[in-house]
Symmetry: C2
Subunit: 418 residues, 2 copies
């Protein structure tokens, strides 16, 4: 069978499965998830063996140490993964909720009721626990899922999906509800992205190049974020101690993540008090600073920031700093160079805070808090399937609520239109 036909068939089976999933009771979905959790623990050794096969092959592939670490599963990580599945069982079912309901003068009762999206394609890399995270969230929200993981984690992903398939089979639910794309050919992605009649949404997770390729080639809706160029703006009315803590935390608590700060903006009238102390903190933490001219006056010896720096997601112990003359200049900088991910202001002035929230057009805007809180778990969603910097459908951290659509249900008593 040709690649194209094979993938079309796979997605058609997922579509058929999605009709059954849409109709499952909360109880059944939770029972399945809990059984997956138990089975996963029991199959721990099988999963780890599959993972070791991936790791052996990875050695030949010359992956970085960080990638090898993300790929590795041990007994504890499998148990964490299993626990995450039973945690999803505890979350509120997002399906069948009446979002709104009203009666028209002619007696028609209209309700806007949540329904699953249908079939969701996830394209991701490296970490095998993403496989189970996505499968459990899609199951709970009544969606069929097509998982296209990276080549380097193929056997681990296969072993994890096997657990789901086994439990689904026991419950006589189509195994196509959770499918791992068996084709590793890169062209498979391009073919999948054309299947607009069967796939309802694609969520690419990974590097910017991968996501841009998906966005360019997809005929199906894409929810994505390219990168996280997050800003902290230290306002003239900031509490100095709070500003130091937040700016340090946003940059240094963890650097390789999308909600870490990449550029710090400081109001001119607080710069002389803030920058020398902050510069010393960063130096001690081994973090490099690249500053604009004013910054370099307060922090001699600091490298000059170029236009390219403002556009760069370092994901590393590097920070660019710019001194601004006003909130408007800070907001304009964020608008121009930011990625609409997460931006934070530190200020004790409520009016300034309100203006910042209004003027900064990002998916998460924070006041007096570290950008590192921009995360599904920190927002209380229980789990996260991705982060969206798009404006359509879902924005910011996406939990179960981001995986639903709705239908209008109209109840009449014989009404006709005149």
């Amino acid at each position: 069978m040709s690649l194209k036909k094979r993938l079309a068939q796979l997605s058609e089976q997922a579509k058929q499965a999605s009709y059954e999933l849409a109709d499952l009771s909360t109880q059944t979905k939770n029972r399945i998830l809990n059984e997956v959790s138990v089975t996963m623990r029991r199959q721990s050794r099988v999963i780890i063996r599959a993972n070791q096969r991936d790791l052996r092959e990875a050695e030949k592939m010359d992956l970085s140490g960080a990638m090898i670490d993300r790929l590795t599963l041990d007994s504890e990580r499998v148990h964490q993964m299993a626990k995450a599945v039973s945690d999803v069982a505890k979350l509120k079912d997002p399906i069948g909720i009446s979002l709104k309901s009203w009666r028209r003068p002619n007696g028609l009762k209209i309700s806007k009721v949540t329904v699953p999206l249908g079939v969701i394609l996830i394209i991701y890399e490296s970490r095998p626990n993403v496989t189970s995270e996505c499968a459990s969230l899609c199951l709970k929200s009544g969606n069929a899922v097509l998982l296209r993981g990276g080549r380097e984690a193929f056997h681990s992903n296969r072993a994890i999906v096997d657990v789901y398939e086994r439990v689904l089979k026991r419950h006589r639910i189509p195994q196509a509800s959770v499918s791992l794309i068996p084709v590793l050919d890169r062209r498979a992605i391009d073919e999948l992205l054309k299947l607009e009649d069967t796939i309802n949404l694609v969520i690419p997770r990974g590097g910017e190049a991968l996501i841009r390729r998906v966005a360019r080639n997809a005929r199906i809706p894409v929810i994505k974020h390219y990168k996280g160029i997050c800003h902290v703006y230290v306002d003239r009315d900031a509490d100095l101690k709070m500003a130091l803590q937040i700016a340090f935390n946003a940059k240094c608590q963890r650097t390789g993540v999308c909600n870490a700060m990449e550029t710090l903006l400081v109001h001119r009238s607080i710069a002389h008090r803030f920058l020398p102390v902050y510069g010393a903190m960063l130096e001690k933490a081994g973090c490099e600073i690249r500053g604009d001219e004013t910054t370099r006056r307060f922090l001699p010896g600091v490298k000059k920031a170029t236009e390219q720096d403002w556009k760069t997601e370092y994901l590393d112990r590097i920070l660019s700093i710019r001194v601004v003359r006003s909130l408007e200049e800070a907001a304009a900088h964020i608008q121009k160079y930011g990625s609409a991910h997460t931006d934070s202001i530190v200020t004790q002035n409520q009016k300034t805070a309100r203006a910042f929230v209004a003027q900064v057009d990002s998916s998460s805007v924070m006041v007096n808090a570290s950008t590192r809180f921009s995360d599904g778990n920190e927002y209380g969603f229980g789990a996260e399937i991705g982060i969206s910097t798009d404006k359509v459908h879902a924005r910011g951290p996406m939990g179960l609520e981001g995986l639903v659509s709705y239908k209008y249900v109209v109840q009449g008593t014989g009404q006709i239109r005149t």
Copy 2:
């Protein structure tokens, strides 16, 4: 300037305007809309003169009578258009609404607050009042709009947008808030669809060919419906009189619209009572029937329906009829041939109604009501910018609520992540 550059500049100006629009108060937006309404009435003769120029050119273009009618503006139609604008002023502002708000154990207060989408591109044909409808709804929801109307209505559209521009100028709001694309070249559409950095959403309205072309070429999110193949299913437990009225209304009250019924499904055990009476009603109304074999047993002389008939949106006095043996068969037919627009069941059995609502995966599912009610005005939205059969973002009739996104606003007191 090249076409590409010119359109990029236009959309960039719209983007800049959108930041100002996002921050306008409800009061200002309503004042602008009310002034547009008054100015439009005053400019009635100018608009009609521009329309006459379009009509003269249309004569040479060999347009159908229906298209000429849709294109024509007279004094009454201009007044209706002006009234529609002041009606939008009366609608509730959809921006700045806290959809949800909660506090985390660490004291962070998280709110999900509605914001405009940004820049919306509308691609449409023929009716010039669509220009004003879309402009007023986008203004009210704080979005900048790029209007790409049909060549045949260009001068009318220009005159209508002039009214908006005049009022915007008076309020010192960027005229790029409402822009008519001045380039009629078809390639302009393809160029616009690539501007993913400045345009947030495209809504194509028109024939299926146009919409498919937009969906295929767009790099920006598209909200659309290709067609409306709406079904009425007359269940075995239907009230016969109600079924006759609803099925007649859904087909005959108006035929050229997307929420008119195109296929009727009838349960076998009620067919012998329903079909002969219904057949006579349709015959009297001059409506042609194409039926499956069982239908033709009850309605001799009726043409045989082909596979193609089930897939066809007639938009005319033609109806296809199929007799089914069960609710499941009806739902499977709708799933296979329907367009996820609107489907209705007529039944007195509440359990059957519930099963239909659950199994039919359409944007509007009705019980004992005519499909013709699937419409923004009938749902009480006040106005409609389009209908979506997509599952992402907005589904069904789209009013102001379909034109918003949201942002997360996080209020802290210095929280950092540990």
